[in-house]
Amino acid sequence: MNFKNILALFGVVLFGAGLVTAISGATVGTEVEVARWTGLTAGSVGTEGGNISGVNVTGATLTDRWAAYFGDVTGNIRLTDSAGTNNVYAWTWTAANGGEVCLSTDASFAFASAVAADGTDIDTAMAWGASADDGVTTYTGDDGSITFNGVTAITTADKVVLDGSSFTDVVVSDGADLAYCTNINSAGTNYNGAAANYEIMVPTALTGVTTYNFFAELN
């Protein structure tokens, strides 16, 4: 082997080494931690005002002490995914199955422990004095009935039969707050004779602000 051959061999060795190192360069990133608390975190919940999968609400102010809300529960409860299939759920519901709609100032009214209430409770809650349209005058009878959860039957609540309407509302209490409820009626009519599945009349504050929350139970 002469000197030229030795140099050529060395060159081949170096070239080979260069090939090996040239393959590198591609990288695989490591797993990225999911962003958290990045500031703009707020968003909406898919709950439309006055709607729960087809429940709608319309309001009407009756007097300075009372307001009424009515609506339908006839929308299709969506039981399928976006592909339109129905593989997961067996439960179906229409307004004919019945249920209750309630309004309460309590953000988390305890329906499971609800008991009958009366007009006096309303006047106390609203701090109303006696008047022609106060609580004791409006809610009467001691025989209003409603059943929650299919098991909690209340039969001695004060009630109000709404004028021109097919609905009767009852007042109940969870020990701390009141709720105004009616049974869902698939063939009901509201105060002006229009079709509605529920109608509820609630007292409003003469001073200050009263916020009512809508609740529904579908049987």
Binding site: I23, S24, W37, N51, I52, I77, A110, G150, V209, E217
Partner: protein, 565 residues
């Protein structure tokens, strides 16, 4: 001067005498919202937060009311810049707490709260904070959002007071608080498991027979009230949650649940119907109530019907898709590929039903729960013989249930449609070329080659002895290799000289195939683990050899003339 001193004294007195009777929160940072709720609940005063979206300062002020002494927590990015003036117009006295950073605010309000006990949760996501929110309110504890960076401060804040650690937290958080003898609630392995533990505890300790059921991605007034436990669920009710609710109903300890919004209406009602049927099968007549809170209204303000006041929190939601459902007549299999475009790994099961002319023909299911990594597409094959059945009459229904925990599949997606037929044979050919350790990158680099003439997909795993024991490391995802191309897969791994000495060879496992998701071919290669550190030694050796050869040659040429002389 005297006047200034008196003014300062009066101001100090005024500050000292201010005792808020309500907390209001106006911030886009969810940590401010949570911290404000925790602070108010620890002090036993009401709290209101500006909802997003739909936050209107006037409506907010109307709900807050008048003549309050309000601590207004205002974030560096408020929801509305009119909140303070709207509250002031209602004759409220306002003290502003400016929150520059949600993490610091959580700790600062902890000190101000005067709480006698604390609950520590992980700061990463809101699930844990929401789970403990009502229990903390009941026992008037403040909830600390902890991580390894702030645990020293948290330990100082807790001092000698009682502390509970809930759910999954950083190990350093546990270690640093261990000297305080904390009570541990939840194993930290499954958020739904931990959630039912705290919900059960609250129901038992405070004799509560109702609960809220939410998905944990937002807060709403019913949740911040703290008067009933919060049960987490997804669009599928996790088994542990189902079992807990059923047992509670069986024992007459749960009379009703409340849903916030309509997202969980169908799964929870469906769950109740299933339970009723199961109880009936046992001869029992048991059920529970479901109430849905769906809207709000302020009659006197003439607002009309409003959406519920909610604030969305950061939470991890797994996301899987059914990418492909086909029948491969060459292999006689039904192929279903599942893609994970989400932000983390997810577990899943598949249920497949094949119908012919509308009649059930075959039903398949995955064998147990499977894991699919983030960014991975995973193929599933089921033996299916459709010979003799004309295409077009065959339909497939695929139900993919998935979740972030193995035991809790809380989400689902499905596909239903005509089953397409393909003719496909996997001719892919992939091999491992070499493996070498790069000390500069602190990584093992594995070279993989597609020897075939078609595109191939490969997922690789490296097996080495690390830290004294055999260790497997997976590549981050599946690689696509063009025909005849090579790719270098990097496995981040810092190895000591001793570990390099213990790994003369490395095992590389590859799963590959010619169809995305269907990596059905598997090979193991044992290749020498080269080290970058060895490479210069070779060069030095060659160089030394080269110098010796030069010297020898020089000596040879120098000797020749002298011989001629």
């Amino acid at each position: 001067m005297k006047l200034s001193i008196i003014a300062l004294f009066m101001l100090t007195l005024l500050t000292m005498s201010f005792a808020e009777d309500m907390v209001a929160i106006n911030s886009m940072d969810g940590r401010d919202v949570l911290s404000g709720v925790f602070y108010a609940n620890a002090k036993g005063i009401p709290v209101k937060f500006m909802p997003v979206p739909g936050g209107n300062a006037d409506v907010f002020a109307a709900k807050v009311g008048q003549n309050h002494d309000i601590l207004l927590i205002q974030g560096s990015l408020p929801v509305s810049s009119f909140v303070e003036s709207a509250l002031a117009n209602k004759n409220n006295t306002i003290t502003i707490y400016s929150s520059a950073d949600g993490g610091s605010t959580n700790l600062d309000l902890a000190k101000k709260s005067g709480a006698a006990s604390f609950i520590v949760v992980d700061s990463a996501y809101s699930d844990s904070a929401i789970s403990v929110m009502p229990y903390a309110a009941k026992i008037k504890a403040y909830v600390l959002l902890a991580n390894k960076d702030n645990i020293a401060q948290i330990k100082e804040i807790i001092g000698s007071k009682k502390v509970i650690i809930y759910g999954l937290v950083d190990q350093q958080v546990k270690d640093d608080l261990s000297s305080l003898n904390p009570e541990i609630i939840g194993k930290g392995e499954d958020k739904y498991e931990d959630n039912v533990v705290i919900a059960s505890r609250m129901m038992r300790e405070f004799s509560i027979s109702r609960a809220l059921v939410v998905d944990g991605s937002f807060v709403e007034d019913a949740m911040t009230a703290g008067d009933q436990p919060i049960i987490l669920s997804g669009r599928l009710v996790p088994q542990v949650t189902y079992d807990f609710i059923k047992q509670s109903v069986r024992d007459n300890k749960l009379g009703g649940v409340m849903l916030v919004g309509n997202d969980l209406v169908v799964p929870i009602y469906d769950m109740r119907e299933r339970m009723k049927a199961e109880f009936a099968g046992e001869g029992l007549n048991k059920t529970f109530g479901i109430t849905v809170k769906f809207a709000q209204v302020i009659p006197s303000a003439g607002t009309g019907v409003l959406t519920l006041d909610t604030f969305r929190m950061p939470t991890y939601k797994p996301e899987l898709e059914i990418l492909e459902t086909v029948y491969n007549k060459n292999s006689g299999t039904l192929m279903v590929s599942v893609d994970n475009p989400g932000e983390g790994a997810a577990y899943y099961t598949l249920e497949v039903k094949v119908t012919v002319d509308g009649a059930s023909y075959r039903t398949f299911g995955t064998d147990g729960v499977k894991l699919v990594e983030r960014g991975e597409t995973q193929g599933n094959e089921f033996p299916l013989d459709l010979s003799g059945i004309p295409e077009g009459k065959v339909n497939a229904t695929v139900l993919l249930k998935y979740g972030s925990f193995k035991k809790s599949l809380e989400e689902y997606t499905s596909y239903e449609g005509q089953l397409a037929t393909i003719s496909y044979t996997d001719n892919s050919n992939v091999s491992v070329q070499q493996a070498r350790y790069d000390p500069a990158r602190k990584s093992v680099l594995v070279t993989i080659k597609n020897n075939g003439g078609d595109v191939a997909y490969v997922f690789s795993k490296l097996s080495v002895v690390y830290g004294g024991s055999p260790t497997n490391i997976s590549s981050v995802g599946v690689r696509e290799l063009a025909p005849g191309s090579m790719v270098v897969e990097e496995f981040p791994l810092e190895m000591t000289p001793e570990e390099l000495a213990a790994n003369k060879n490395a095992s590389v496992f590859i799963d590959y195939g010619g169809r995305q998701g269907f990596l059905l071919k598997k090979s193991e290669y044992v290749v020498p683990l080269q080290s970058e550190g060895e490479f210069p030694l070779i060069l030095v050796g060659v160089a030394v050899l080269f110098v010796l050869v030069i010297l020898a040659a020089a000596y040879f040429f120098m000797r020749k003339p002298s011989k001629k002389k």
